[in-house]
Symmetry: C2
Subunit: 236 residues, 2 copies
DNA sequence: ATTCATAATATGTCTGCACATATTATCTGC
DNA sequence: GCAGATAATATGTGCAGACATATTATGAAT
């Protein structure tokens, strides 16, 4: 379960682990201060910068709060923090040993709905490329996506043949390094979606909505509806 | 939207931002190598350790891959990484300016279902404390939770009055610093859940399942069902 | 050509020192 | 006692240099 990947860490990581262990063991009580860097450096027999490196990591985990002059104190209610890795769907599917498939369901270019424009911060009726597509795992529907892309911000977009390449894959290759917002929610399958995903109408679909920008220029808005039963697993 | 919180960063953060900008601008092409630390240090007129600090951050963002001797290259398919902050429900609710309420729905102590024991890695029929509770926002149902706790690993558990304190809050206070696994999914509301959440039966509920351990001893398994329409927002 | 030892190289880490910065503690005059 | 100036202090950041480690490139021997 908790696979020790081998050897115990050394150097600053060893210090970090020791500090974490002492916090978990309540060696330093919640809300209390821990020794300052210089003292710890002496304890561990290393330079203060090494302790600093370790404590910075512990702070990043949310276990301690650090403030200048005030020192470091053990967090009372440590923030739980989970990191979601969002791979390409293809990688996600093949990583599970399933075969990956993709099908474009529809393609439209024209004025987008008001809600979509608003979400992207574009004027009403801006012309966007609208794609709906289906991602398959072992031939079974795995995820249905509904995507708008801004041709203004994506040169060459309208010439791409999205029947063979998924928009996601193309965008990652051609417009990488964008920033964005991710929204997780659950939606009920409406009739067309239920048909696409081959599930009951009204089924609960895990849903991810992403909006991405490059330099404050909106690139794409995509809503991805996963087939019922999909689970996203992460450590915290 | 993209709130510049004020001044431009200085020092190593400025270098990090500049490197990120140059990658986004395709100054260094995807898959290509970027100058090595010593060269960059000379460019920026700083010490190599400062560049190292900056590049470590860029690597943590997934924009570059670094390997000894091979140098740093721009990632071809940068992993999208989103960080979920999981606050206490109470904080989550009050942060939105709503009033928070809590109600215990049921409390049981006895052998747990097989599936639950398996999930926690406990022998079949282990006695666990089973709680169901409701969290309210402005008096409206906000989230229903279904929780099993292992009294073996949580001293004093059976004496706690969970009618006034939520299990989550108590555990965070008394058993902090645990590790765990988080699963995100969507479920349909069954009859009792629909009644608790005051929503239609069959509604799509955003669901979080958490299992936490301390030192490989299972603490708790909780499934939290959010009222329809709940959205988790995060940056990436 | 293939294999294996060896050198070269970029990153990883550590040290000791210095100064910057934020925040708390203390002292001062009123 | 209180407000405001001043000192003290813990962390944040930076530098130059050193060695460690992983990995690639090179050259020698077969």
């Amino acid at each position: 379960m908790h696979s020790d990947t081998g050897k115990p860490p050394t150097g600053w990581q060893a210090i970090r682990d020791d500090v974490v262990a002492r916090i978990r063991a309540r060696d330093w009580p919640p809300g209390g201060a821990i020794p300052h860097e210089a003292a710890l450096a002496q304890d561990y027999g290393c330079a203060r910068s090494t302790v600093n490196r370790a404590l910075r990591d512990v702070a990043a985990m949310g276990l301690i709060d650090r403030r200048r002059k005030a020192g470091s104190r053990v967090a009372l209610a440590p923030a739980r923090r989970a990191t979601l890795d969002i791979p390409l769907i293809e990688a996600e599917v093949t990583a599970r040993g399933q075969s990956y498939g993709y099908a474009l369901l529809s393609r439209d270019h024209g004025p987008a709905p008001l809600a979509v424009c608003a979400r992207l911060g574009l004027p009403q009726g801006a012309p966007l490329l609208h794609l709906t597509a289906l991602h398959l795992a072992d031939g079974q529907p795995h995820m249905a996506e509904d995507r708008w892309i801004n041709p203004e911000a994506v040169p060459g977009l309208l010439d791409v043949d999205f029947t063979t390449v998924s928009a996601n894959a193309w965008l990652v290759r051609n417009m990488p390094y964008s920033e964005g917002e991710l929204i997780l929610t659950a939606t009920q399958a409406d009739a067309p979606r239920a048909e696409a995903l081959d599930c009951a109408e009204g089924a609960a679909l895990f849903t991810m909505e992403r909006v991405t920008w490059i330099d404050d220029r909106p690139i794409t808005l995509v809503r991805q509806f996963y087939a019922p039963g999909h689970r996203v697993v992460t450590q915290l």
